[in-house]
């Protein structure tokens, strides 16, 4: 008899503990970012995700009056993990593309960008198709830049695809790459850093219709809430403040 009571008590305690954690998990919104795309998202010295994306995510959560948790996930696993509910939204400077729209829904854009080549300073680097012939060009796997190279220049240049942009920069410095194709804004940030001082932009930015949005699961109501909150921060000056923290010009 006694054993039975103890058993029941333990079981019910466990049940309570379990149900409370489930309840907690449902109030909290989990937002994923990559953590290797400075200044939009990066990991600071104390191991915390920081950057424009993280600031925007936190500002949106504040307006939605919900508790958020920012988690990090390698870039090419973001969409698969979102789909299996490892988190609820991706705020990781993700471009809104047709291919991705088949997999996920996007919020309204929260900034826009374009692609631009970079290469060693002072060396001639012709960004036309003929000028690129035979060059070794790096980009991050599963990005707009990576797909652009595969779709347009696969038979012209040797393409090298990396897990994250930091690895692209490392191989540029090591001299394994003649040039790289990346998004203009994070590159702008890297070129100002110590490591990037030997490099510069080549040619003009292109694919400038690149809109960046927040990805959520297909049909998730979170999308409407995010759009409403985004509208609020755009109108009350919060967005502007965050923008000014990272760039001296508007990126919206």
């Amino acid at each position: 008899m006694k054993i039975n009571k103890t058993l029941i008590a333990t079981l019910s305690l466990t049940a309570i503990a379990l149900s409370s954690t489930v309840a907690q998990a449902s109030d909290k919104i989990r937002i994923a970012t990559e953590g290797a795309w400075a200044p939009f998202n990066f990991i600071d010295a104390s191991g915390q995700p920081q950057g424009f994306d993280v600031d925007i995510a936190n500002a949106l959560c504040e307006k939605m009056k919900v508790e958020c948790e920012i988690v990090t996930q390698d870039w090419d696993g973001l969409i698969p993990a979102l789909k299996v509910k490892k988190f609820d939204a991706i705020v990781a400077s993700m471009s809104i593309t047709k291919e991705r729209m088949k997999q996920v829904d996007f919020s309204d854009p929260y900034y826009s960008g374009g692609l631009r080549y970079l290469a060693a300073k002072g060396k001639p680097f012709d960004t036309s198709k003929a000028g690129l012939k035979g060059k070794v060009i790096g980009a991050q796997r599963a990005t707009v830049a990576g797909l652009y190279l595969e779709d347009n220049l696969a038979d012209v240049v040797e393409i090298k695809l990396y897990d994250n942009n930091d690895a692209v920069y490392l191989d540029l410095q090591a001299g394994r790459l003649d040039g790289a194709l990346s998004d203009e804004l994070p590159t702008f940030n890297w070129l100002k850093s110590d490591a990037g001082k030997g490099f510069e932009f080549k040619g003009q930015a292109f694919a400038k219709d690149d809109k960046i949005g927040i990805a959520v699961r297909k049909g998730d109501k979170l999308r409407a809430k995010l759009n409403k909150a985004l509208n609020k921060i755009l109108n009350d000056g919060t967005y502007e403040k965050i923008n000014a923290k990272y760039f001296p010009f508007s990126i919206y």
């Binding site: 090419d76 698969p80 796997r141 599963a142």
Partner: protein, 230 residues
């Protein structure tokens, strides 16, 4: 499950599998050749001869393969002297960097397997060779190494399978091996389940091949150990 994606991209996965096979084959052969002197030195009774291989094995068994790959690929290339040396045309290529890292890694493991086998040879066989008046070199060539070879076959087959799976790490340094190819395809199709499953099946098939080869070698080499069938 989207079978069309699998059918469409299977040839590209096979292309990746071919790179994987090359990586394992080349580093398996070179690594095992390197392992013989390292293993013999490790087995030596003289402290100064076995100290260096001991450190070598300790380092390569004690650090993750991924770290070793990064050290060879990103680490070494940081030095201006390396970039201007005659080795740069090779060290520049992720293919050779991966092979160097795999060779160093597998030779350490294989050397340790060899050492274990040499130590496990029954004392009586060593003494019998000595009594017959064999010189050390002859004894190793005729008795100890062939005997050790028979013993290491199962363990070495294991090592090759581990390396086959470890070779997936080559995808982190831009190589389009089976895993790298799968990840690149998924970047376009967003079908991780289909593509990774297909890649998994190819890895399984390759492992099976390795298992068969080693079973055959083991049977052939250790024929004399099998009980006589009535």
């Amino acid at each position: 499950m989207d079978f069309e994606v699998i059918v469409e991209y299977f040839p590209r996965l096979l292309e990746g599998a071919w790179t994987t096979i090359q990586l394992v084959l080349v580093s398996g052969i070179v690594g095992s050749l390197m392992a013989v002197p390292i293993g013999l030195a490790r087995h030596s009774g003289v402290f100064w001869i076995r100290a260096l291989p001991y450190c070598y094995i300790f380092f390569f068994r004690g650090t993750p393969l991924l770290v070793q790959i990064f050290l060879v690929y990103y680490g070494v290339s940081q030095f201006e002297a390396v970039r201007e040396s005659m080795f740069w045309p090779y060290l520049r290529e992720p293919y050779w960097c991966a092979i160097i890292a795999f060779c160093l890694n597998t030779s350490a493991y294989t050397a340790e397997i060899l050492r274990g086998a040499l130590a496990a040879i029954p004392k009586g066989e060593v003494e019998a060779s000595k009594v017959l008046g064999m010189r050390k070199s002859l004894m190793y060539r005729r008795v100890l190494l062939p005997r050790a070879f028979g013993m290491i076959v199962p363990a070495y087959g294991n090592e090759i399978i581990l390396m086959l799976k470890g070779s997936a790490l080559a995808s982190t340094i831009t190589l389009l091996d089976l895993t790298g190819m799968a990840r690149t395809i998924i970047a376009r199709t967003y079908t991780p389940i289909e593509i990774f499953l297909s890649a998994g099946v190819i890895y399984l098939a390759l492992s099976m091949l390795v298992i068969w080869v080693f079973r055959w070698v083991e049977r052939r080499h250790n024929e004399y150990l099998r009980p006589i069938e009535n």
